[in-house]
Amino acid sequence: MMEPFFQYLYSFLQATIPFEWAQFDFVWRAIGAMLIIAPLCAVLGVHVVNFRMAFFSDAISHSTFAGVALGVLLGVNPSMTLIGFGILAGLSITLLKGRSDLSSDTVISVILSATVALGITILYAQKETRNLEAYLYGTVLAISDVELFLLLIIGILVFIIMGFLFNRLFLLSLNHHLAASRGIPVTLLEYGFSLILAVVVTFSIRAIGLFLVTAMLVVPAATARNLAGGISSLFWIALISALTSGIAGILFSFYWDTPAGASAILIGCILFLISWLKVRWFD
C-alpha cells in the first residue's frame, strides 16, 4: 500500500535535486530514517544527559546482542528478538534499581554483562556470526520501505508522548520528591521513560548500530549544552546537531564507502569539539 507512495516521493525528489546521491532510492530511505531518528535522539538525549542515563542506554543497546543471538538460535528474525530483549533489559534495570540498595551503575553493569555473555555464548555455540555486522555497525543505507514506515509510526507516537512528558521529565530529573509533590506520578514516569528509551534505542540500532546508538543520544545533547541559552534552545540545537551529523554521515558513506552510523557519530563529535572550543575561547 505504501510502496507506490514512497516510489512517487523518491521520483519527485530525484527530479528536484540534481546531485548524484539524490538519484538513488536507498539514499532517500536512509535520509528519511535519519530525519526520524535524529529528532527522537534529540528529545530523548536531553533527558538521558539530565538523568545521567548514558550507561543505561548503552546497556540497552548492548543487551540487544543477546536478542540477536536468541533470534539466530530460534530461527526467527533477529530484528524482532532484538527489540524484545532491549525493552526487557530496560525495564529489568529500572525494576532492579528501585528494589536494590546497590548503585545504579552496579545494577546496569550486571544486566549488561549477563546479556552480552549470553549473546556471545549462544552465537559461539551456534557457530553463527553472519550478518552480525548489520547490528553491530548499523546499515541505514539498507533500510527498507517497510522499516522506514514502521520507524515513522514509532517516531510520531514517541514525539507526541514526549511532547506531553517533556516538562514533567525535566522536573523529575531535578528532584524526585519535588516532582512527586507537584502531582507527577514518578514511578510510572520512570518506567515509561525507560520503555520509550528502550524502544527508540532498539529501533535505531538498524541505522546506527548497537555500538554507537548511545552516542547519537548523548553527543548532540552534549553539543547543545555548550551552546544553548535555555531549555528550548537546548532541544533545538540538539536536534539540528543530530540531523546535521546524521545526514552528513549518510553522504560521507555514499561517497567514501564508510559506515554511515560511525561517520554520523564522528561528525557529531567534531560538532561537539567546536562547541566546546567556542565555550572555552569565547564565553
Partner: protein, 259 residues
Amino acid sequence: MNQDRSFPLKTAVEIINLGVCLRKIDILMEVYCSIPAGQTTAIIGPNGAGKTTLLLAILGLVPYTGRIDFPFFEQGRPSIGYVPQHLDFDRGLPCTVEDLMTTSISKKALWLGKKQKIKDHVRVGLERVGAEGLKNRFIGKLSGGELQRVLLAMALEGNPSILLLDEPTAGIDAPGEQLFCDLLSDIQNQANLTVILISHDLSVVSNHAQHVICLNKTVRCSGGLNTLTEENLLKTFGLHIQIYPHNHGPHQSQQDMKP
C-alpha cells in the same frame, strides 16, 4: 515523651501514631504531634532521625501507618507547597529560572515555546519572593540563597495552605539566611501560611520558629521555644548541647546556641 498539649492555637496537622518502615527499617515509630496553624514549626533532630521522612509522609509521598489529619482545613487535605533541600543538576545545565518555573506550571513542552500568560505568571511568582531579576539567569549560576528563593516561588505557586521546607538555609551564608528567613516570615504573615521546616541550625530555629518538634525516630519533645532545654536536646541529639541565654529579637541572625 515531653508533649506540650496545652498549645492554644488551632491545629493544622495532627499526626497520630505515625510509623514509617522502608526496606524493613523503621524510620519513624509512634510519632504523635500537633502542628499549629499559621505558625512556623521547626523539626530538629540528628542525621537519620527521620525528619525528611516526616515531611514526605505529610506530603503523602511515603507509605505510613497511623494517621495524618488536617483538622484546620474543612475541605480535607489542603494544598501543600514543598521546597526541597537541593536540586540535582550539573552546573552546566542551560536552564534559566524562567524555564525551571515553567516546568511546574505548564504542561506544554518547553521547546514549543512559552505563552505570554505563563511568562507573566512566572514574573509575578518571582516578584513575590523579590527574585524578578533572576528570571533569565541559569539555575547553575545562582547562589544558594537565590536558588532557595526561586524554589520558594515555585512552592508558593497555587497559593498552598501549608509550606514544607527541607533545610532551607543549609549552605547559605548568614546574610542570605537572614534574607530568606525574613522573606519567609513576610510571606507567612501575608498569606497566613502554616510553615513546617527542617533545620540543623538552632539559631534559625530559635529566631524564626514559634513551635519546635524534636525528633529522633519518635517525637522526643514538642512545644514552644522554651522546649529547647538542655535536657530535651540531650534526649534528641544524644549529646550535650548547651544553650547560652540571649536577648535576641525574633529576626536576629547571630548564633544563639553553641554546641
